[in-house]
């Protein structure tokens, strides 16, 4: 088993594998490292000093500029992003859980049909929905309000798909039966028995939907004109477009980008295991 040729193979292989992975890790981390370095520099050092080396440490000044620019609009954008992504994903997860649970545990006619409609929804490119939604919303006066972005964001067919699979795997019928025998109604059974068992998978659904909303740029761009309603992504995009003419904005775009992604990265790393269970079930079931 441990003959010399496999040992050599594994030594060579080990070195090659480690080198390759290190190269790739540098590739993935370099832009983030660059952003961190750039966010600590004064605007004047951006072009004149080497991009990967720290120079004058000006981070706090940059943060101050960022949060006070245009009457503190950046803070507003941050709050908006939280409203859209966190609140939207929370509501979305809840309704996905309700629906997925019903699809997994309640037998009724047309269930498989409904499920295939939802599965079809997974494949619909959401950007294709944005323009028609915009026209419909502008007829009803919802355009350019929080609802214009929030309402479409809570719908996640992929979330329902995951919820159904997770429910089937994590919630045994026997437990539900005994809850029912104890006289609990369907909602009480759901809230007191099923939801608890589903909670790890709900975190996963939440994360997926959070990322989907957090990433969705096209929808807010189409729907919103009022700067005070922008999520961070749209706001930074606007600023970035103005840097050619207002170069001083550049530092705020950089600092703003960093401030917006750091908390999310930290949360992602902390919640790693939920990703993996989610991805595994999503991929394999």
């Amino acid at each position: 088993m441990s003959n010399p040729s496999t040992a050599r193979e594994s030594r060579v292989g080990r070195t090659a594998a480690m080198s390759l992975m290190f190269l790739l890790a540098i590739y993935f981390l370099l832009p983030i490292y660059f952003l961190i370095v750039a966010a600590t520099k004064p605007q004047s050092d951006l072009a004149s000093t080497f991009g990967l080396a720290f120079s004058h440490f000006d981070l706090f000044h940059n943060l101050h500029t960022l949060f006070s620019r245009d009457g503190g609009i950046y803070g507003r954008w941050a709050v908006n992003s939280v409203i859209y992504a966190v609140l939207g994903a929370a509501v979305g997860t809840f309704i996905s859980a309700l629906c997925g649970y019903a699809l997994a545990k309640f037998p009724f006619r047309g269930r498989e049909f409904l499920f295939s409609v939802i599965l079809g929804g997974v494949l619909v490119p959401t950007t294709a929905l944005a323009l028609p939604l915009f026209l419909l919303f502008s007829k009803t006066g919802i355009v350019n309000t929080y609802f214009a972005v929030f309402l479409p964001s809570i719908v996640s067919p992929f979330g329902v798909y995951l919820a159904r699979i997770f429910t089937a795997a994590a919630v045994p019928d026997e437990l539900l039966e005994s809850a029912r025998l104890d006289g609990a109604g369907e909602f009480r059974t759901f809230f007191s028995v099923a939801l608890r068992l589903m909670s790890p998978s709900l975190v996963t659904i939440f994360l997926f939907q959070f990322v989907a909303i957090w990433n969705n740029f096209f929808l807010p761009m189409v729907m919103l004109q009022k700067e005070s309603l922008f999520p961070i992504t749209l706001g930074l995009y606007e600023w970035n477009g103005q840097t050619a003419r207002a170069p001083l904005l550049q530092e705020s775009v950089i600092t703003g980008s960093l401030v917006s992604i750091l908390p999310v990265i930290v949360v992602f790393i902390l919640l790693q295991r939920f990703w993996r269970t989610g991805l595994a079930s999503g991929a394999l079931k």
């Binding site: 594998a17 480690m18 309700l98 499920f115 619909v124 929905l129 089937a168 990433n215 992504t233 995009y237």
Partner: protein, 315 residues
Amino acid sequence: MTDTASRATRVVAASGRRRRHLGGGPRAGTIVAFLTPFFLPFVLFYLVPIGYAIWQSFRVVRRTGGQYGTSYTTFGGFHQYVQVFHNTEFWSSIERIGLFGVVQVPVMLFVALIMALLLDSPLLRLRSFFRIAAFMPYAVPGVIAAIMWSFLYSPQLSPVVEVLKDVGLTPNFLGPGAVLWSTANVSTWLWTGYNMLILFSALQSIPQELYEAARLDGASNWAIAWRIKVPIIAPSIILTTVFSIIGTLQLYAEPAVLRQISSNISSTYTPNMLAYAVASGNNYQQAAAISVVIAVVTFVLSFGFMRLTTRRAGL
């Protein structure tokens, strides 16, 4: 993925159905109450806009009276679709995105697969570091990723350009030929880790016993990886491919950001940008037709790909 998925849940559901008959199922009203919170917005914000886009794509604008006149719309059959198919901008955006997808998707998934296999092999140390490093970009929205990379592409600010200059190279990441691949790089950077994690999770759930026999027969890690692991996780590879195809066809944010610094990205660079540009010109009917075509192409490609590969792999 959907086929196998629904098969699996169908089995689960079937067993549930059997039990339910003993205790009696919930009332119809209850079921509706569970389903409505999702289905109401699903219908309003998914199905209705799809229907509206389809309806609109069959309308044409007509006008009465004079130089400026008053416009109204009427049924126009396939007029808008004919217009779309005669639009050279449309075809060049499709061609561009096709080239992008044919190169970027395989490259990205190949890198993701290699990483996943290495992370799953005994060859590596510092696994969680590598996993986290690769996954980190997933936390970055496309717009911000493109902004970050645009600094690394910019001739004035980029340390990469500076280093390459010292070696005697003067790359122009934003030039007419290069900018498509600079965009592809942003997508690759963003999504490789995500796809890697899907494949890695799949690998992790393969029971170890499956390799044991092969290992006893003296098969190398390499052989085990390609002959045993890859075929087993084929469904996951298909899934990541399908999602990547969908993503490619929807490309908007990354080229839109790079357009802010490169005149080599036109206003109609991708199908989505074209749809937006056409809508900006008040031609909503044609924009709807473009949206419908994008959706149909996405559907056909992803379903087609799934059909083709699942049949080949005998899954």
